[in-house]
Amino acid sequence: MTSNAGGADSRPLAIEAHGLVKRFDGFTAVDGVNLSVPEGAIYGILGPNGAGKTTTLRMLLGIIDPDAGVRRVLGSERPHEIAHIIGYLPEERGLYPTMKAYDAIAFLGALRGLPLSEGRRRGKELLEEHGLGYAIDRQIRQLSKGMAQQVQLLGTLVHQPRLVVFDEPFSGLDALNQGKLERMIRSLAESGTTVIFSTHVIAHAERLCDEVAIIAGGKVPFAGPVDVARDRIRPQVRLETRAADGPWRKALPADARHEGNFWLFTLPESGIEPLLRALIEGEAGILSLSIERAGLHDAFVAIAGEAAAQALEQEKEEIRP
């Protein structure tokens, strides 16, 4: 049981899911999702709102059961049996308002099998370590929303899980705390913890993730390394010429468009050399030429958009009498 996404990763899998399906009142929220998350990886689940990210995570964690398909998390098909080595931060954060900060952390640890006294000790240590020492004895309702979120985050990690699942962890955090969370995620991965998180903000995934799954309309049209996702879109060529017109124009691909001083087009299948030769022979007077690799955002829009369009077509077919 090793990862084969991208073909090179031979790490054992922390999460393996095949054909996960979940329906709610006739609506298929998740439709045959396959995932392979290597141990120690930072794995992103990208998708627009309502794509099925949260439902997928909930199935992986055993909060809800799939209608079809198989999930295996840290080697177990019953996620609650290994809950003590998993940490979960849901999208909708919530703590008991009257609990003190360190007690809230200890309670979240106790739910994962950490003795309460140990949880309290670690809770105080973690709060001190993260600059929240002054809030140790404060009730959750006395904290700001951002501080309460940090307390919950620490509670998610207090039992030192092997797998951490974050659902939209960056939502509601200011830029400083987003940076702090990114550093924390990297630190977790460095210590061998597998981190999987969902987001609809591509920049976080691009900065953090080794691998991503793009989910749209309940399906996963792409799952694998970020580089592979980028390579789904051919690089873009940006060309600047001295001559405005001439025989060289015939060498440009059909999708070439003129924006300002530049010609923009997709790198031809035949590569850059034949094009260069034609431009030189046609006396284009090349001032600059750059080949830009696609970003994850472009890849996401292309892959998710295509999947969404296909899902819409499929739905139209189903509705059609």
Partner: protein
């Protein structure tokens, strides 16, 4: 992030339930709602006292209806004397007489006109003579007075008893009839207390869950421990709180009992004896609450708003009221299918069995029914947890919204 080696281990369902229960128990015990819970039993007394006071005032404002008498002067005197003799011997069943008029020889009176006058609060009027009394009054009351007026008239005309022989009283604690009647009272009182307590607690556990959903904690719990454990933890936390409450009430009741001494009325002994009855009361109360509480939790887990909770729990509350009435109805039908049904139906079973403990000896049947109720609790908890997993943790947009998003995204 390194803060020592982790010492976590997998929690069993019961251990997980204990973690939930411990949190809920301490949170509820130190909350204002527990103070209200403790004061709960005082409310019926306060309301009863206020209502009683108001009733007394209303009662005082209305004069006791009396029986008017309008006869010749001698007949009036005879009737009054007869009434006094009989009232002394028979007591309150003999009505008071008020003289409307002493008639002169040959004089007559219109009884209807006399009744309509404001002279007195008359229920009826006796005219004629003791030997041939005429009773005039409203149709619904007159038959009620007939026998007693005849008794007074007979006494007044010299046909009543001349002397009332003394009756030696041989006082015993109770008779069979009395025992049956008083045990029925014990059964009814215990059923009512059980019903009120279970409804109060089930309502509290429901509020607790709805609050938890409002705080968004439920997903954290559901991710960490099985929903069965969440349900069990919540149910047993509230049960433990109620035991603390009952202990406090018992202590307060004991102090009042000791202070009041013999001035308190004696409660009739239940059939199984007080120790067994008290033990069974605690067991049936616990099971009755767990049954209803597990059902309420299942409802609460499916509802997203307080309004939804109210809508869903109303029919259940009504149904539970019916179960309570059914158990009360079945109480007096020993050995019939009605009694068997009331024992078998999970929600009426605790009421029925508590009443049975008050009325009938024999403990083995209780063991059997307790086992049955425990099985039902387990089934309801499991069903509630399954419903929660199937219906609650939905996310994403509705179908229509999704289609709209797809259209926007694909264009």
């Amino acid at each position: 992030m390194m803060i020592g080696q982790p010492r976590t281990g997998r929690l069993s369902t019961l251990a997980a339930a204990f973690v939930i229960a411990r949190r809920d128990f301490t949170a509820i015990l130190f909350s204002r709602s527990f103070i209200f819970f403790l004061l709960g039993p005082l409310f019926p007394f306060v309301i009863g006292a206020v209502a009683g006071g108001v009733g007394l005032q209303v009662k005082d404002s209305l004069q006791q209806p009396m029986l008017g008498v309008a006869m010749s002067s001698a007949d009036v005197d005879a009737m009054i004397a007869a009434q006094r003799v009989l009232a002394k011997e028979v007591g309150g069943t003999i009505p008071d007489l008020v003289v409307i008029r002493r008639l002169a020889p040959g004089e007559t009176i219109d009884p209807l006109a006399a009744m309509k006058s404001d002279q007195a609060n008359l229920a009826a009027i006796v005219t004629g003579t003791p030997q041939a009394a005429i009773l005039t009054g409203p149709v619904d009351r007159i038959e009620n007075w007939q026998g007693r007026v005849a008794l007074i008239a007979a006494q007044a005309s010299g046909n009543g008893p001349k002397a009332f022989p003394g009756v030696q009283l041989n006082r015993v604690a109770t008779s069979k009839v009395d025992e049956t009647r008083t045990r029925l009272v014990t059964a009814q009182v215990s059923q009512t207390v059980l019903f009120l307590l279970t409804m109060l607690l089930a309502g509290m556990v429901l509020s607790n869950l709805v609050e938890e959903k409002g705080n968004k904690i439920i997903e954290v719990l559901a991710a960490a421990v099985p929903m069965d454990a969440v349900f069990l933890g919540k149910l047993f936390a509230m049960l433990a709180v109620s035991w603390v409450g009952i202990a406090a009430w018992g202590l307060a009741g004991g102090v009042v009992w000791l202070a009041a001494g013999n001035s308190l009325p004696d409660f009739p002994d239940p059939a199984v004896g007080w120790p067994a009855f008290l033990l069974l009361s605690v067991v049936y109360f616990s099971l009755g609450y767990l049954l209803l509480g597990s059902l309420f939790l299942a409802i609460g887990s499916m509802a997203n708003t307080v309004r939804e909770v109210q809508t869903l729990s109303m029919p259940v509350t009504m149904l539970q009221l019916l179960n309570f009435f059914f158990a009360g109805f079945a109480m007096a039908r020993t050995g019939t299918w009605v009694e068997t049904a009331a024992m078998a139906i999970p929600f009426s079973s605790p009421f029925m069995m508590l009443a049975k403990a008050a009325q009938h000896e024999g403990l083995p049947i209780h063991g059997l029914l307790i086992a049955w109720q425990v099985i039902c609790v387990a089934l309801f908890v499991r069903a509630g947890a399954t419903l929660f997993k199937r219906r609650v943790m939905k996310s994403g947009p509705a179908v229509g919204a999704r289609r709209g998003w797809l259209r926007r995204f694909s264009t």
